[in-house]
């Protein structure tokens, strides 16, 4: 049931307002960073306040302004939106503390710009989550692109600038394809609002709709599907907290979230299966899962390996969407928060290692697990989760994904899921082996990272385990409501 409420827009506004306060207090380090922390808590609280209403089946939202009939800027918090919003906002809290610890330990420059852009990026990510139509989503999608660019080029070295150019070239070009898709959708239907079951049924020829789906996919290059992935490993030049929250959670999840929104709320399951677009997406996703995993194997730079792992994991979500069955969709949606928790843990751990030792390559990490036991334990938890082993939440995704593949009678996809699990083990286990079982070259007096970094790391790591035991609170409950709305079936 739709309810008029400004709360979703408030959640978008809080980080935006915080970004201005960060600029105003740019000369007072502690106040500036205080605003980041306060805003992250306030945002989380705002998003959480939506939870009871959404869990009881409401969809609070409102239209900010109507530009033309059918073309408006509007917000809505349904269960589907809340999955992404809750993931981003809860991890922002962790990341705020981690950022402060990391950036101070690293004695980084340009912190005002850093925290400003970070807050804007989170605001944009929440905007994408809560947008009730394509235009609103597009606006925030572009803001997300722009606001993350300064974070990628943060180091201001020639390499960073080159990486930034690649980043912006990929994502702005993708944005153009997105805009084209929005235009065509509006042209065909005179509307852009997200409706369960889609709005495109009965409009346009098959060829046009297929083209439209493909341009949408290109538009969502933030999902880093192959061959449009190469901006993501390049963006790893950014400071680690950026890689952790933005390039493992907010930005890339915005991409897959967008694809899911478009697939289910613009096209609709029926139309997708009639046009056999699920199969197309499935093939793209399978290709990405396998190839990205194999490329992860070849990376010695830890952050790059994690980036390729992200690419492959994002395509799990795409594969889940592509299956077009309830279990597949459950897998896709639940993997948004689950992968976020696990991958941010991995990045936090990698960042701690970088700060404390300066080591970025896996081959140099011999025995690091003995010197930083807690950090590497959390890393191991994240890795186990990504591999899909208990007792970490990753296995739940794999389970539903496999179930979905069987429901859809797609044994080939089942094979992809199984072989990718093996690949996951292959690229993570050497890291854990090197860290714990190889002897360090010399004792360099390495200690655990400062508490500002260690505590968020432990919370997300333990969180990944807790989500295995209590998946229902709150993510699985939300997913079930969302899947119920999308498929029209009641999910037990």
């Amino acid at each position: 049931m739709e309810v008029t409420s400004f709360v979703p827009a408030l959640a978008v506004a809080i980080p935006a307002i915080a970004s201005i306060l960060i600029l105003v207090f740019r000369h007072h380090e502690c106040i500036r960073e205080g605003w980041t922390v306060i805003a992250s808590f306030a945002t989380l609280a705002t998003v959480l306040s939506l939870l009871p209403s959404v869990l009881s089946g409401n969809e609070p939202g409102f239209t900010l302004l109507e530009i033309l009939p059918g073309l408006s800027i509007s917000f809505r918090a349904d269960a589907f939106a809340l999955i992404f919003a809750l993931t981003s906002s809860s991890l922002w809290v962790m990341n705020s503390f981690y950022s402060i610890g990391y950036m101070r330990a690293h004695k980084e420059h340009g912190l005002t710009r850093y925290f400003f852009c970070f807050a804007v990026a989170i605001s944009a990510a929440l905007g994408i989550a809560f947008s009730a139509d394509l235009l609103t989503m597009f606006i925030f999608y572009e803001i997300l692109t722009l606001s993350t660019y300064p974070l990628v080029v943060h180091a201001e070295t020639e390499d960073a600038r080159r990486a930034g150019r690649k980043y912006i070239a990929y994502l702005l070009t993708a944005g153009i394809f997105f805009l084209f898709s929005v235009l065509v959708t509006y042209f065909l239907t005179r509307g852009t609002a997200f409706l369960p079951g889609g709005i495109l049924t009965g409009h346009g020829s098959e060829a046009l709709l297929t083209l439209l789906f493909i341009t949408f996919l290109i538009g969502f290059a933030k999902a880093a599907w192959m061959p449009l992935h190469s901006w993501l490993p390049t963006a790893m030049i950014a400071p680690t907290p950026v890689s952790a929250l933005l390039h493992a959670v907010a930005v890339v999840k915005a991409g897959v979230f967008g694809i899911a929104r478009v697939a289910f709320y613009i096209f609709g399951i029926d139309l997708l299966s009639v046009l056999r677009l699920g199969l197309l997406l499935g093939i793209i996703a399978s290709f990405t899962i396998i190839v990205a995993s194999m490329m992860a194997l070849t990376q010695d730079n830890l952050k790059k390996r994690l980036a390729y792992s992200t690419i492959s994991q994002l395509s799990y979500i795409l594969l889940g969407i592509a299956l077009l069955t309830p279990s597949g969709i459950i897998a896709a949606l639940i993997h948004i928060p689950f992968h976020a928790f696990m991958k941010i843990t991995l990045f936090f751990a990698a960042g701690s290692v970088i700060i404390m030792t300066g080591i970025e390559n896996i081959s140099e990490m011999k025995g690091i697990g003995r010197q930083m036991p807690l950090t590497m334990l959390m890393f191991a938890i994240g890795a186990i989760g990504i591999c899909g082993l208990p007792p970490v939440c990753g296995i739940i995704t794999k389970w539903y994904l496999a179930l979905g593949a069987i429901e859809a009678h797609q044994m080939l996809f089942l094979l992809v899921i199984i072989s990718s699990s093996i690949l996951n083990v292959l690229y993570f286990m050497p890291i854990i082996y090197t860290a714990f079982f190889e002897k360090p070259a010399e004792d360099r007096g390495i200690r655990e990272a400062p508490l500002f970094m260690l505590v968020p790391l432990c919370i997300t790591g333990i969180g990944s385990v807790l989500l295995f035991f209590f998946p229902d609170w709150p993510f699985m409950s939300l997913v079930k409501i969302a899947v119920g709305v999308i498929t029209g079936e009641v999910i037990p």
Binding site: I73, F138, L146, I168, L172, L179, L183
Partner: protein, 498 residues
């Protein structure tokens, strides 16, 4: 009593203002700026009153000296020129305010009196073009504003400006000849110069070669005035070597006036029936506009001088307006006319920023702008917003006009132009992104360090117009419904509805 005469006052006041400036400047030079400022301010208020009146009661007709049309000269204000007037006077006002400090370094002190006098003449000419309903009168005002523009371009210390101005003069005069011959043809054929009258008398003559050649003369003449590719050659030099305030003024006000005149001739004098049915000129227009959009952007990418880059970008942006008009359905026309406002706001802001940087540092090549954001944060931020609007990133206003033009192209089934519009967004992104990266993410070169480090945001009289325009880029985008309220009825009128 007075309210009835607002239509003519909007032209008379700047003419009087120009003479007052000249006389006052004779007494004391510093009187010139306030007089010019007050004059344009009054005009701006009048234009708002006129627009309000038009929207409330419909088009206003004013007969000069009470001579009834078609014998006398008639001034007509409908939603389109009401809207154009407000936009142009708003920009003129900001340019005038901006000029106070910016011309100090660029223009010799003794020329300041002349500068403001000519400035007001230009504004008078532009307002005249907007309000007149008489073809010959339009030509007269076009020449007044053009002559003023030639003088203003040449007013700076820059030696190259003289050559640019001369070039502009030659091309402008050629264009004026074409237009005059066009008017002559129409007068021979119909015996009238009143636009409404012409629109009534022309249809039976549409087949006549006389009318068709008149039409071609108009198109070529006005294409030169609007710098439509490939007749743009005068534009880059004139825009980039003129004093900054003048660059901003002619890039926004003058160029838009040419477009306005073109729209009037195409749609009011010749009517859609002729331009769409009789001579399929609009198709050709679209293609030329498409080429202009792409070529202008590509040339802008190759530039090393900031103002030169902005000038080439103007060629590309004028292409957008003409594409919107060329597609000639209501949605695309809405986009095209909206882009008149957008381009004025964005380009005005960008040229003012370029001028502010020259004012503060003396630097004008893009390479020299490295690290400028640290010492001129507000200026750089305004540049970023205006550039984002040029690229068409929502929620800025540039996005809205691209949306409408592209949607219009889709509606008329011309998918190719949609691709052109979107591709050019990317090209635009390329040339602005380079500047943006230099401003924000690079250290100044050794040789420029002192200039960049010693810079500051410009004085308030320059900064305020820049910030107002930057804010307008976002506000007009979010509240796009406000200008659309005026644009939609004008589009309906142009396309033949009532």
């Amino acid at each position: 009593m007075i309210p009835d005469h607002l239509t003519i006052l909007i032209v008379i006041i700047p003419l009087l203002g120009a003479y007052t400036t000249l006389l006052a400047g004779w007494v004391k030079r510093r009187f010139c700026f306030p007089i010019a400022m007050v004059t344009i301010c009054i005009q701006f208020c009048i234009s708002l009153a006129l627009l309000y009146q038009v929207m409330k009661t419909g088009p206003l007709h004013y007969n000069l000296g009470n001579w009834l049309p078609p014998w006398g000269i008639e001034y007509v204000i409908d939603p389109l020129n009401g809207f154009v007037l407000v936009v142009l006077l708003f920009l003129s006002l900001l340019c005038c305010m901006y000029s106070k400090r910016s011309i100090v370094a660029e223009i010799e002190e003794k020329k300041i009196v002349g500068f403001y006098t000519v400035f007001l003449l230009l504004v008078a000419g532009v307002c005249g073009i907007a309000v007149t309903g008489d073809l010959f009168n339009l030509y007269v005002f076009l020449e007044i504003s053009s002559l003023a523009a030639y003088a203003l371009v040449a007013s700076g210390r820059e030696k190259k400006a003289l050559f640019a101005s001369f070039n502009y003069l030659i091309m402008g005069s050629v264009s004026a000849c074409f237009i005059l011959i066009g008017i002559g043809h129409l007068y021979i054929a119909t015996g009238t110069l009143n636009m409404a009258d012409l629109a009534r008398l022309l249809p039976p003559l549409y087949g006549s070669p006389l009318i068709q050649s008149a039409f071609i003369f108009f198109i070529v003449g006005l294409s030169i005035k609007t710098a439509l590719f490939p007749l743009h050659l005068w534009l880059p030099d004139a825009y980039s070597y003129a004093p900054s305030a003048v660059s901003a003024l002619i890039a926004t006000v003058m160029s838009k006036m040419g477009v306005y005149a073109l729209i009037r001739i195409l749609f009011t004098v010749f009517t859609p029936a002729f331009i769409i049915m009789e001579i399929p000129i609009m198709e050709l227009f679209c293609w030329i506009a498409a080429i202009a959009i792409i070529v202008g952007s590509v040339l802008a990418i190759t530039q090393t001088d900031l103002k030169m880059m902005l000038a080439y970008s103007s060629i590309s942006q004028m292409g957008y307006i003409l594409l919107g008009i060329g597609i000639a359905n209501s949605v695309a026309m809405t986009g095209g006319i909206l882009h008149i406002l957008n381009h004025a706001v964005m380009k005005g802001c960008l040229f003012m920023v370029a001028g502010a940087i020259i004012y503060a540092t003396g630097l004008r090549t893009i390479d020299d702008l490295k690290g400028i954001s640290r010492t001129m944060p507000l200026t750089a931020a305004a540049f970023f917003i205006a550039a984002a609007s040029m690229i068409g990133i929502p929620p800025t206003v540039g996005f809205m006009s691209k949306w409408f033009i592209a949607l219009g192209a889709l509606e008329s089934g011309q998918w190719f132009f949609v691709v052109i519009i979107l591709a050019s967004s990317l090209l635009t992104a390329i040339y602005f992104w380079r500047v943006f990266e230099y401003m924000y993410f690079r250290e100044p070169d050794m040789a420029r360090q002192a200039a960049v480090a010693g810079a500051n945001d410009p004085p308030a009289s320059m900064l305020v117009p820049i910030l107002i325009l930057a804010a307008a880029c976002i506000l007009c985008g979010i509240f796009v419904a406000v200008p659309l309220e005026v644009i939609e009825p004008s589009v309906t009128r142009l396309l033949g509805g009532n």
